[in-house]
């Protein structure tokens, strides 16, 4: 009996006029999004490669180790084809040099704001908004619609348990909607192969998991439609309720969640933090100058009463010691600045994490945000990408700076660059001490993005996937309970 009901359900869906329209719309949208995503990914790969060779050229133009700067770009991720997440909002590169803090800057959207105007069309967007709407469109009248047309009475003139009927409804609509949607999804996976997008095996697994999660999210809306149709009498009211709930889940709750969280947690702006860092390091620089001046004055005092030749000898004897003293002061001040800026960064990051946790907790009342968060996490275009990337870059910066200092020490300790000296005898002299030899980059540490293990990728998404499952169970449970008491007449 169950299978007959499922078959009937399948037939009703596939033969309905809305099926052709919605199926076509969905297919076109999915294929379009994936195609565009692939093109976009290819463009960003080219950009990435070009940027890297430009950085190499720039570095080769440097003539001293001290002035060497590196720029590390974020590598495009092939799975961003399906879920762009915050990829276009996050800065694309960070400068790596002794004097710069790691900071990802120049997001794609800030460079080409025209793309920011309407944002991006990706698979996640289509699933979140369009597919969920269609799921509701097919299920909002699945129970009370049959009552309105009188077929419900007919069905129950046979001896069918209510649970079987509802189970068949659910399974039938699920099968009737998931199967056709799978076709464009399979084609889009074919696209990946066709356009030579190479994925690692863990990326393939992630992709499959991601698609399963999308199906889960879609299933939730099927269950939601059935739920409303089994506890309202008329299909028009169940439609209205489902539509309002859909709007709240998809558009309203996620936004309001984050906006409210922003009101509760006060985070100092980046501009303020940078100014604080600037003032601090300036103060330290002044302190450094003053301390060194005092040292010099002290030395002058020590040498009082010496003749010129005695002074020369004394200076030569102590030169090494003095230099060490001075550089110790310099180092102390620099370290203090670095420490201060790390402390500030840490504080801001903590506050931000607090705010983000709150925002996410609020927005997770909507399955749509859970789905978005789960997919961003799996595909690694999530909010935490910034922290991960910056942490990796910090590590790289350390090895980069170490390398440069070593090279610098080996090639003589002079600062290089251009020196303007002034003497009463020769007047002004400009010396260009920059070496004319090319720097040797063979030993330069290369940045490699550490690859996350599959477990690490899936783990942050587990909570949201679980939430979606819970949402499905709740809505199915409620529809079950409501239908047991449903007035069939």
């Amino acid at each position: 009996m169950f299978w007959i009901l499922v078959q009937k359900e399948l037939k009703t869906i596939i033969q309905s006029p809305k099926f052709v329209t919605t199926f076509l719309t969905c297919s076109i949208l999915i294929l379009l999004s994936v195609y565009v995503g692939i093109q976009d990914y290819k463009i960003s790969l080219n950009k990435y490669a070009a940027a890297q060779s430009l950085v190499k050229n720039e570095m080769e133009a440097a003539s001293t180790w001290l002035e060497l700067e590196n720029k590390i770009y974020r590598k495009p991720n092939p799975l961003q084809i399906f879920s762009a997440g915050i990829n276009n909002d996050l800065g694309r590169f960070s400068l790596i040099s002794q004097s710069h803090d790691i900071k990802l800057e120049s997001s794609s959207y800030s460079e080409d704001p025209i793309f920011a105007f309407f944002r991006y069309l990706d698979f996640t967007f289509i699933v979140t908004i369009v597919l969920s709407l269609f799921a509701i469109l097919f299920t909002y009248d699945s129970v009370n619609g049959e009552k309105e047309s009188g077929t419900l009475k007919l069905v129950f003139s046979n001896s069918i348990p209510r649970s079987t009927f509802l189970g068949a409804k659910f399974f039938g609509s699920w099968l009737g909607l998931i199967t056709p949607i799978s076709i464009p999804i399979l084609i889009s996976i074919l696209f990946l192969l066709l356009f030579n997008i190479s994925l690692t095996s863990s990326q393939w697994i992630t992709l499959i998991l991601y698609i399963i999660t999308s199906f889960g999210y879609f299933t939730f809306f099927i269950a939601l439609g059935i739920m409303f149709s089994s506890f309202t009498k008329t299909s028009s009211s169940s439609f209205l309720i489902s539509l309002v709930v859909w709007i709240s889940f998809v558009f309203i709750i996620p936004r309001i969640g984050t906006m409210l969280a922003g009101q509760f947690v006060d985070i100092p702006s980046l501009a303020e933090i940078e100014s604080m860092k600037d003032s601090f390091s300036k103060a330290k620089l002044n302190e450094q100058f003053e301390k060194i001046e005092q040292l010099q004055l002290k030395r002058e005092n020590e040498m009082q009463g010496f003749s010129e030749s005695e002074k020369e000898i004394y200076k030569e004897e102590n030169e090494w010691e003095w230099m060490k003293e001075e550089s110790a002061i310099t180092k102390e001040m620099q370290d203090a600045s670095v420490q201060y800026s790390n402390k500030l960064n840490e504080e801001v990051r903590n506050k931000k994490n607090k705010m983000e946790r709150l925002a996410l907790a609020l927005s997770r009342f909507s399955p749509a945000s859970s789905f978005q968060l789960a997919s961003m996490n799996m595909i690694q275009t999530d909010i935490d990408l910034k922290n991960r990337a910056e942490d990796n870059l910090k590590e790289y910066k350390n090895s980069f700076v170490d390398f440069i200092t070593k090279k610098q020490n080996k090639n003589g300790s002079g600062p290089g660059g251009i020196r303007v000296s002034l003497s009463s005898l020769t007047g002004v002299q400009v010396e260009d001490k920059r070496g004319k030899d090319k720097l040797d980059f063979t030993e330069l540490p290369v940045f490699t993005e550490p690859e996350l293990s599959l477990a690490n990728i899936i783990q942050p998404a587990v909570m949201d996937i679980g939430l979606i499952a819970i949402y499905i169970f709740i809505s199915f449970g409620i529809s079950f309970a409501a239908f047991l008491k449903f007035d069939l007449r």
Binding site: E111, R119, L133, S248, Q263, S269, I418, V420
Partner: protein, 465 residues
Amino acid sequence: MLKNLINKEIREIIQSTKFVISFSVCSLLIILTFYVGAKSYHVNKSQFDSAAAENLRGMEGVTDWRMIDHNISLPPFPLAFLVSGISNDIGRNIKMSGYGELTAKDSKYNEDLIYAAFRFLDLDFIFQVILSLFAVLLAYNSVNGEKELGTLRLIFSNSVPRDKYILAKILGSFLAVALPLLIPFLIGMLLLILLNVPFTSTDWLKLLLIISTGFLFFGSFITLSVFVSTLTKKSSNSFLFLLVTWILFVLVIPRASILLAASAVEVPSVDKLNFQKNVFANQLSEEHVNALKSFKSSGAGDVIEEFQKYMAEKNATREEKMNAFSKQLEEERNNRQNAQQDLSFTIARVSPAASFSFAVSNLAGTSLELIKNYRDQAKNYQKVFADFQIDKTGSTTTSGMVMVVRKTGGDVKTINPSELPKFNFTQPDLSNVLSASIIDIGLLAFFNILFFAGSFVTFLKYDLR
């Protein structure tokens, strides 16, 4: 007669459940948008103020105006919190110096990615997504629904002209929603006053224009829905058709247009530009050092002063060359970007939703023009700042070297940071924003007329039975 028909229409809509529910949802959202917008404005303003204060504090104790680290940033303005446009996507902070190129960094979204993930709630979004959907919901069956119920025949058993009937349908559905919605908008405006959001009279006018444009957009979806319901026999068909159209207009066409334009017009990447500039700068720097090396003191007067002057001259020529080069590159990229923008906007304007977005972001001052405005005003400020430095110290910071003599001991004169000229960002005035948005407002009016005429013509031939 017309009045009666409109009255009937309004009464029918207002008494329906779908109106009550959709009206409450919209009202809630509108009020929330104003409230959260006002609050966010204050949060951002205080962040902005403390950043500016911190920046000035950092200058205390500095002895030379050429040694300051000076940042300017785009101040938050109230309308951006009601229609955010691209205001969160563009760089806001600029490191100011008396010479050279200015780059705006740190977009709000890059700073707070959580907002980028879910975006903001603003009036653009409410009208574009929510109200348009409700317009469809309220009017999809306005004609064929009455036919299904049989009331259409009843009405036309009286001597009602068809043109009056269809006019009443459209006006009635529009007024039934627009009039009640004025209440949450008024409450929202009251909130702005109560929460002390500094709105100038121009801002108020702009806000009124934004809301009116919103209603014009809403009207286009009402007329479209009525049009479709006169085209189709069954209300379920018209609903399906309208829903797909809604998805296309609101979600797909605007995005697709930009992607299409991007593949048609290529814009050189910023990386490439920066590289070309770097190569050129290196070349110039080489020449510069050689020029400095050839310095010969005339022997008369202060050597340092003479050298400073010589260096300043060389800096200026190097500066000029670099600027000309950068300007040329930037212009090329800007032209490309403009071509791309024009193409994508033209395609996008097929959809009233895109026209609406363009119109209101222009009115709010958060359209793509904002970038240009900010850049231009920052450049003007740069001149003011350079003049100020020259006035104070005799020269401005340049791409070359500056010799700053550090005096020790005695009385060191520190600068007074409050003397620094302030950067004020001025909003485009009303006539500017109006002329920028007039095309799109006109288009929206055109859509209204088009759909109205369509429903009029089809209804004249409509089978009433």
